[in-house]
């Protein structure tokens, strides 16, 4: 029994301080991303969410350049980009795609500049993979209150607006007829999305954070049509993927090439994709039987 357990969980996993911090931080972020992500999927804003996270790499690199904590860079630039998208027209179904694309293009431009400046003047080469691909094991426990606070803000926005947001997401016309201020609600949601994405950027990296935001939520929505049930399910899937990813990354230290761990983000992303495909297969099986 002991040997089996050791084969699954390499020794030292639960006792390691970095792992505990990573599990706590990653867990908080995973739950927030799963809950918020359900609305992202219902509103078909996966591209917007992904664009915000990509643009986050500009924020992370600029924060490094001026000596701020990366989290503030991620949050600041995501909120700014969300405002720009809202301004150009992310809410209109037709203009959304291009609005997001144009803002993302500008974000990339800034990211390439800041990363270049960082490499040239600050010798920040080691930071680039961290900003782009994240590194949950390097986070410190002192980040936890801030991450929890920001996550709570995002959740509070969505919970307060739950009913009007749901209505505006499913049928904007009906919501407008009922007196919901669709654009205001959408803007507030975009703000919550920007904060969530910034948190994901911190843990699994700017270019991979879409996985946590979209994957678990889309998997959950394949299994259930009820939004609140889907949100809870998404949070669960997201948490499971994150923790299992941490465990596998820890184990991978003993895989080839030896003494070189595989990136956590790779495991999380792969698990999320598997969850999505499994949910699809499960849903199809159910409809066939029913």
């Amino acid at each position: 029994m002991q040997a089996l357990l050791h084969a699954i969980v390499e020794p030292g996993f639960f006792a390691d301080g970095a792992v505990q911090t990573a599990a706590a931080l990653g867990g908080v972020v995973a739950v927030v991303a799963g809950l918020i992500g359900v609305f992202t999927v219902i509103r078909s804003q996966a591209f917007a969410g992904h664009a915000l996270s990509d643009i986050g790499s500009a924020g992370g690199s600029s924060a490094y350049l001026i000596g701020l904590a990366p989290l503030w860079g991620f949050v600041g630039i995501s909120v700014l980009a969300a405002a720009a998208m809202e301004r150009i027209g992310v809410q209109r179904a037709r203009g959304r795609d291009v609005a997001t694309g144009v803002v993302l293009g500008v974000g990339f431009a800034l990211a390439s500049l800041f990363l270049y400046l960082g490499m040239t003047y600050h010798n920040a080469s080691g930071e680039i993979p961290t900003i782009l691909f994240g590194s949950v094991f390097t986070l410190s426990a002192s980040d936890l209150p801030l991450v929890m606070g920001l996550g709570a803000v995002a959740l509070l926005v969505v919970l307060t607006l739950y009913r009007p947001l749901l209505l505006a997401s499913v049928s904007p016309e009906l919501a407008a007829a009922r007196g919901v201020r669709v654009r205001l609600v959408g803007g507030a949601y975009l703000l919550a999305l920007a904060i969530t994405v910034a948190l994901c950027d911190l843990t699994i990296g700017a270019i991979l954070s879409t996985a946590l935001l979209v994957g678990p939520a889309a998997a959950a929505l394949r299994l259930t049509g009820r939004p609140h049930r889907a949100a809870l399910l998404a949070a669960g899937i997201s948490l499971a993927c994150t923790w299992l990813g941490l465990l596998l990354a820890w184990d991978s230290f003993y895989w080839p090439p030896l003494r070189h761990g595989w990136p956590v983000s790779f495991f999380i992303v792969t698990l999320v994709l598997i969850a999505y495909l499994a949910a699809g297969a499960l849903a199809r099986g159910q409809t066939k039987r029913g």
Partner: protein
Amino acid sequence: MVNAWIVASLAAVVGGAVGFFVVMRGASFVAHAIPNGSFAGAAGATLVGASTIAGLGIFSVGGALGIGLLGRRGRRDVATALTLVFMLGLGALFLSLSAESSEAAYSLLFGEVLGISANEIVPTLALAVASLIVLGLLWRPLLLDSVLPERSSGRRLLAVDLAFLLLVAMTTTMTVPVVGTTLIFTLMIAPAAAARALTARPGVALALSSAVALVTVWGAIALSYTTNWPVGFFVGALGACAYAASHAAARSGDGGPGRTAGRG
């Protein structure tokens, strides 16, 4: 310098032309996902010692097929997002395993246009011509399906869609090694969106889109050469300027075509 100029011009013409359909079909996310995800192919190629072009080709075609097939069931944007992040996750793994320097990762993501050598011109030219021929062959079905998707049967729609995705993949393979995964995205979106704001006629918009892309790239290379800042930055900035300017022009042009048709 001359090599960079030729190759980047080719990338701009093809990117602008393909971009016209990207904007028309509302496929910005796909146009972002395929080039960005194919970065993993380049990283994998360096890991196993294969040629970069082969790696890029395999991953961009794989990404196109993944998006096309996953997107048949369920939501297209979710399928695109998951295909993209999975490829990027693989890229992160390959980079980490090959202990690739972060400068190499940077040049893959954001391009290295000034370091292009003369022997890259011929393959790029060949792929550019091939892309334009495919675009010409697909011209009518693509245009019809983009404007009136309900007119076509489901099976043909899927075929045209897959052909379009593969076209994006081909453009990606050709341009990524020279201009980076992000630059090609910007070249596909901003000029085409600008052109669509100015005219509603497809042929004119396509030519205009390529022209705007060319001007953007030439300006960016010149600015990058003088300031020593990355080309990608100037391409993004100039592209956004072109988009903003064309929309301002369309708005002041007394309800021109941009009012009705250029919003897509």
